[in-house]
């Protein structure tokens, strides 16, 4: 079944009332899950997996998919309102998003986040439809060497996220990588830095680290000021202005492309995509000198990227049966439970599933836009609550979020520790993002490098002789050289990133 016939068939499948209902349920749950820090789409899907036993496979996948891309919409809400990313892919949205809130522009920020997400999600679905089979084959060529090179590319982006001190960004990144080694060695299983406790066996969980470094540290920094200076600016206007739309067009377009491509690559995912978009906009956006101080490009680009990536990450799963990230692995489990083994023949053997899922994703994006835009007004009202009363709520959210990961107070304690450390580091001029990014990428990268070397019997040439790996390494080199070239090209263009708070 080819493109257009497939789409027509897909709509017939997805527009059945029951299927629409499951799609709606999925996107609503996804939005809530995305807004709430501490509960992520992967965990939610895992929790709901048993509930889908009784559904037919198409409905199950439609609902679970809705949870995933829905969560990308919701994750930006807390990032913008209180500087706590609901998902790791909303981390960079915190920068300009929260700055916009502090300047009374939370409404436009939330609105643009929803619109950018919608455009990217829809474009991603179109991309899925057109490109799926071909691009999917590339995922087959991904071995440990490609993985390692991709992680390295991701890590070099760290250099741009550290405010105006490269040295401090590197220090944070190295610390993040070091923290990533805590736990069991990914290849040999040897315990590292566990000090004999069970708690650290799996390493540091991301949620307490996030909550601490972003949520608690932000609260501490704000509360340090005298009460008069704790207030956020009164919100003015709920809708993005015409200038906002004009400024955001480029970032959304670039973010969509970046996100889609990175989402397809195994291990890429929404987080790297959003960071790559932010870094790109730092260079290319119309208001790049204002990035970090409330430029709407800092919200539009990354939000487009993470939604496009979420959509793109379905490709390896639906065309080859390879999960591109943890959420896709959950989807694979869901499909397997229903007796379906995704692979190259899925499109022909299960046209209902393939085309039905794709069209439901389009419908889901429409639902999410309709859902989210009115909520902007509601969320902005929350900001009217005086900060000292909002604070215990935020802290409570962080505490619950951390505690709920394993039910151990150790995780909550970790969060408090990172919160205090994060605050101190901020006062000393360090940014949290490089540490968190390195923490996320550290373990997969080490595993990939060691596996690649094991397979090549210790030869480093493998990273250069395999074409995809080589391409990624060249991209890494280019991104490192770019600031130098930029300076040579035009002395007036900002080659140093603006200082970030």
């Amino acid at each position: 079944m080819d493109g257009f016939a497939g789409i027509a068939h897909g709509f017939a499948v997805a527009l059945e009332p029951a299927r629409l209902a499951y799609c709606f349920l999925g996107v609503v749950v996804g939005t809530v899950v995305g807004v709430l820090p501490g509960l992520g789409p992967a965990a939610t899907i895992a929790l709901l997996l048993p509930a889908t036993y009784r559904l037919d496979p198409v409905s199950a996948v439609i609902m679970l998919a809705g949870i995933y891309y829905g969560s990308q919409y919701g994750g930006s809400t807390t990032a913008i309102l209180v500087r706590i990313p609901g998902e790791s892919s909303s981390m960079v949205t915190c920068y300009d998003g929260y700055e916009m809130t502090r300047r009374g522009r939370a409404g436009p920020a939330l609105g643009m986040a929803a619109i950018a997400s919608f455009v990217a999600g829809t474009a991603g679905v179109v991309g899925l439809m057109l490109v799926a089979p071909g691009l999917g084959r590339m995922a087959l060529a991904f071995g440990p060497a490609e993985y390692a090179s991709l992680m390295l590319l991701g890590l070099t982006l760290v250099a741009y996220l550290g405010g105006d001190s490269l040295l401090k960004a590197l220090l944070m990144a190295l610390t993040g990588l070091l923290l990533a080694t805590v736990g069991q060695d990914p290849v040999a299983g040897v315990e590292r830095f566990t000090f004999g406790t069970q708690n650290l066996l799996d390493g540091f969980d991301l949620v307490p680290v996030f909550m601490g470094l972003f949520g608690v540290a932000e609260v501490l920094e704000t509360m340090e000021r005298p009460p008069a200076r704790q207030r956020l600016a009164t919100p003015t206007g709920l809708w993005p202005t015409r200038a906002d739309f004009r400024d955001s067009a480029g970032p959304v377009a670039r973010g969509t492309v970046l996100g889609f491509v990175l989402g397809v690559l195994p291990g890429g995912g929404a987080t790297i995509a959003s960071i790559a978009s932010y870094v790109t906009e730092r260079r290319l956006a119309r208001n790049r000198h204002r990035m970090g101080q409330g430029a709407i490009e800092g919200v539009a680009g990354p939000e487009a990227a993470n939604n496009a990536a979420a959509t793109g990450s379905f490709i390896p799963l639906l065309t080859l049966g390879i999960p591109a990230n943890v959420v896709m692995a959950m989807m694979l489990a869901a499909l397997t439970i229903h007796g379906i083994r995704p692979g190259p023949l899925l499109i022909s053997e299960q046209p209902d599933l393939f085309w039905g899922t794709i069209t439901s994703m389009y419908l889901g994006n429409v639902m999410l836009l309709v859902l989210n835009l009115p909520l902007v007004g509601l969320f902005v009202q929350i900001l009217r609550v005086p900060y000292p009363i909002l604070t215990p709520l935020i802290l409570l959210l962080c505490l619950i979020g951390s505690y709920s990961v394993t039910g151990q107070t150790a995780d909550a304690l970790t969060m408090v520790g990172f919160g205090i450390a994060g605050y101190l580091l901020r006062k000393l001029g360090f940014e949290a993002a490089p540490l968190v990014l390195a923490l996320i990428l550290g373990r997969p990268m080490e595993e990939a490098v060691r596996q690649a070397l094991a397979l090549s019997q210790g030869s480093f040439a493998v990273f250069l002789t395999r074409p995809i790996s080589l391409a990624l390494l060249l991209a890494t080199a280019a991104s490192l050289a770019a600031p130098l070239l930029g300076r040579a090209w035009s002395p007036s263009s900002p080659s140093r990133p603006p200082p970030m708070i």
Partner: protein
Amino acid sequence: MSEAARPRGPRWRRADAVAGAAFLALAFGAWLAGRHLPPGSLRQPGPGFFPLGLAALLAVLSIVLLVRGLARPGADLPSMWQDRAGVRRLALIGAALVGYVAVVEIAGYLAASFALFVVMIRGVGGYGWRAAFSAGAIGAAGSYLLFARALKVNLPAGLWLP
């Protein structure tokens, strides 16, 4: 972040120097805790390769920062820490957080959360007792309903609840 550039106080108070020393201590600690791990070789990295290598790199860069902090005039340790009220607020928040984690499994979610609200709103925010108590009750109960009932999150029940 960009505080006054004029250095004040003894050299060791420079912000960068303190930061550099802290990271150096972290690197040293990592080496201490991980030096028993087999490093393997460059061609066949073992469990200790990355941790020890990273600790070494961290040490080098932190020394750079330390030296830079001592040598050049730069930002002094943030002057905020001379504002008593601000320090008191932060200390109270920090203590409240640690206290919360310490007692939540003994006193239960509701009691601990209520206490957190009261401490924050009365102690840190400076509002009256009535505001603190009512906000605490609403906040603790409301969040309990949302998380424990609607979302089925496992919240600690405390030792004295069934």
